[in-house]
Amino acid sequence: MTALHSQAPAGETGGEYAFAYLDEQTKRMIRRGLLKAVAIPGYQVPFGGREMPLPYGWGTGGMQVTAAILGGDDVLKVIDQGADDTTNAVSIRRFFSRTAGVATTTRTPEATVIQTRHRVPETPLSNDQILVFQVPIPEPLRFIEPAETETRTMHALRDYGIMHVKLYEDIATFGHIATAYAYPVTVDDRYVMDPSPIPKFDNPKLDMNPALMLFGAGREKRLYAVPPYTRVVSLDFEDHPFAVQRWTECCAVCGSRDSFLDELIVDDAGTKRFVCSDTDYCRQRQQETGQ
């Protein structure tokens, strides 16, 4: 039973792998799933998710989507928490430059495919770009209804009252809708969708975005999509409308007042600094202002 050893991916060289690691059949299967996802915006398409050489929960869904859509001419950018230089972003970028040999970039406008975890770039995207989201739990109803059989029926019947029960409860308890990230949205006036754990600050960027947005959940084996220029509305109440976070401070590096800020604690006295979470956006602004 050991006759198949010759197939082992050998060592660190790119030549031993299929282009972008996955075999062509698998990539075709994923692309078919993506086409369906694009055709039914916000609908979760089950797919035969593969085991990737990175752990589940570390972006295997996003990686499979990226692998399936990547071509030789693509320019890939990978961000985690908005930054190109976080370890997992580095690791995934390396994976694709090794297995697909594609060009990579940290500059948002130069990228044709951007794989992201937890952020939508601050720089507006164009209609020739694709944003690939890594998704941990694709089901927005999951924490209210744990059974998959039931949540699928709820989606099919558009039975979404329970989502507002959660929002009602937040307001009754905290005076605010207490969801700060992974804030659920309605896509194209039909499906309720989890936008992945992006801060709600990024939700408005999903609405009518020119770029194609693809979502991949590896462990849960689901794909979904928001096609370009699609209505994406965050759930709310008429008298408690959806609102995003703002800071009174600006970015300590580039001075931006419009971007999502990371909070840093810079000394033992607990002094706080705020800097852009989107490192490329921050760099662009520094260049513009000549810093």
């Binding site: 039973m1 605010h176 700060a180 754990p197 800020l261």
Partner: protein, 370 residues
């Protein structure tokens, strides 16, 4: 000016080097050979093959070596390798009735055709540390000298005999194509074939605990260990080119068939039910846990009330995979600066209702955007 932590590439390279060093240990000691692991840690190899769902002792041993003995990591390595392999065909169902037995026990009949064979087992060992092994010597009785040739001729399975009497609910082969849950996503309700596949790949500890929970009353199913057999079976393959099946070779498996509480609308229709477990290699605990959980998951089929976690199909199948579970738990180590920042902002806002922001304390504002 504060500069955020950078240098991910260098840090990753360093981490890999440190790991390699830790794995190797003291270089004054000879390196562990893969062959030694394969020969001397056969139960670890069996577990990695089962849960890695790839029958390859050498690669499993390699994975254990590479993973520095972390079996879940080794299972992950084997899985990631397996996923790149082409699928040729599904074999003909294993005929475990023709197993070359190295162990066979039944808790339901004192004697039975073929007899009982204890074989190699930890059962009845007194769990006393053997300091002879610490002294790196061989134990008093070396295996080669003392052990009688321990094997049984192939013999019929216990539950088959009960089945002939009409006392077991029959298992029907629907003749459906063999599902492959590593290619097609599970959808619920799953078929029994898919359930068994998921359980065979499932974490031994998880199945053990769930099986145990049924014994303690969370979905009790009155199990008897009808038969446990361990040994070599031949794998046969039918190919389109030939109109007969050809043998590919032998594999070692552990099979457990539980006899469980009876069902039937009327007394004369009453029949025992079955829970089934199968694992690669010598893996008795895994096979028993699997059989208990398999039977628990048949609650729906037999119209039983679902009272315990072990009976909930989605709960069991969605959580039994240790590669999935390990990945998702470990991903908590990844940065969550952004989500956490969003939560920080929210909790501060909740704690400071309608207070004006002080100049030093950045109080977030709300603004409508959508």
């Amino acid at each position: 000016m504060y500069v955020a932590v950078k240098g991910g590439e260098q840090a990753i390279d360093n981490a890999h080097r440190l790991l390699a060093k830790k794995r190797r240990g003291d270089t004054d000691r000879p390196a562990l050979e893969v062959a030694q692991i394969r020969q001397q840690l056969p139960l670890a190899v069996a577990r990695v093959m089962s849960e890695g769902s790839l029958y390859d002792e050498e690669l499993a041993a390699l994975a254990i070596k590479q993973a520095a003995g972390d079996l879940l990591e080794a299972i992950f390595l084997l899985r990631a390798y397996r996923t790149t392999l082409p699928r040729f065909a599904a074999s003909v169902p294993l005929d475990t009735g023709r197993m070359q037995l190295s162990r066979r026990i039944s808790a339901t009949f004192k004697d039975l055709p073929g007899g009982q064979l204890l074989g190699p087992t930890f059962d009845y060992t007194h769990r006393l540390l053997d300091f002879a092994l610490l002294a790196e010597g061989e134990p008093a009785a070396t295996p080669a000298e003392s052990a009688a040739p321990a094997s049984l001729e192939p013999c019929p399975r216990v539950l088959e005999m009960l089945g002939r009497e009409g006392l077991m609910t029959p298992e029907r082969d629907e003749g459906a194509a063999v599902p492959d849950m590593t290619r097609e996503p599970l959808e619920f309700p799953a078929s029994r074939a898919q359930r068994l596949q998921a359980l065979a790949r499932g974490d031994e500890g998880f199945l053990l605990a769930l099986g145990y929970s049924t014994q303690r009353g969370y979905g009790r199913n009155h199990p008897f260990a009808g038969e446990i057999r361990i040994g070599e079976v031949e794998v046969w393959l039918e190919t389109p080119e030939l109109d007969f099946a050809v043998p590919l070779g032998d594999i070692e498996v552990t099979e457990c068939e539980m006899i469980n509480q009876f069902v039937g609308h009327t007394p004369d229709q009453a029949q025992f039910t079955r829970g089934y477990g199968l694992a690669f290699g010598y893996a008795e605990r895994k096979a028993m846990g699997m059989a208990l959980v398999d039977r628990a998951l048949r609650a729906g089929e037999y119209g039983e009330e679902v009272q315990g976690p072990a009976q909930q199909e989605e709960f069991v199948l969605m959580h039994c995979d240790n590669v999935e579970a390990g990945g998702f738990v470990s991903h908590l180590k990844l940065p969550h600066y952004v989500d956490f920042q969003a939560e920080l902002e929210l909790i501060r806002k909740m704690r400071q209702p309608a207070q004006d922001a002080t100049p030093t304390e950045p109080a977030p504002l709300e603004e409508n955007r959508a």
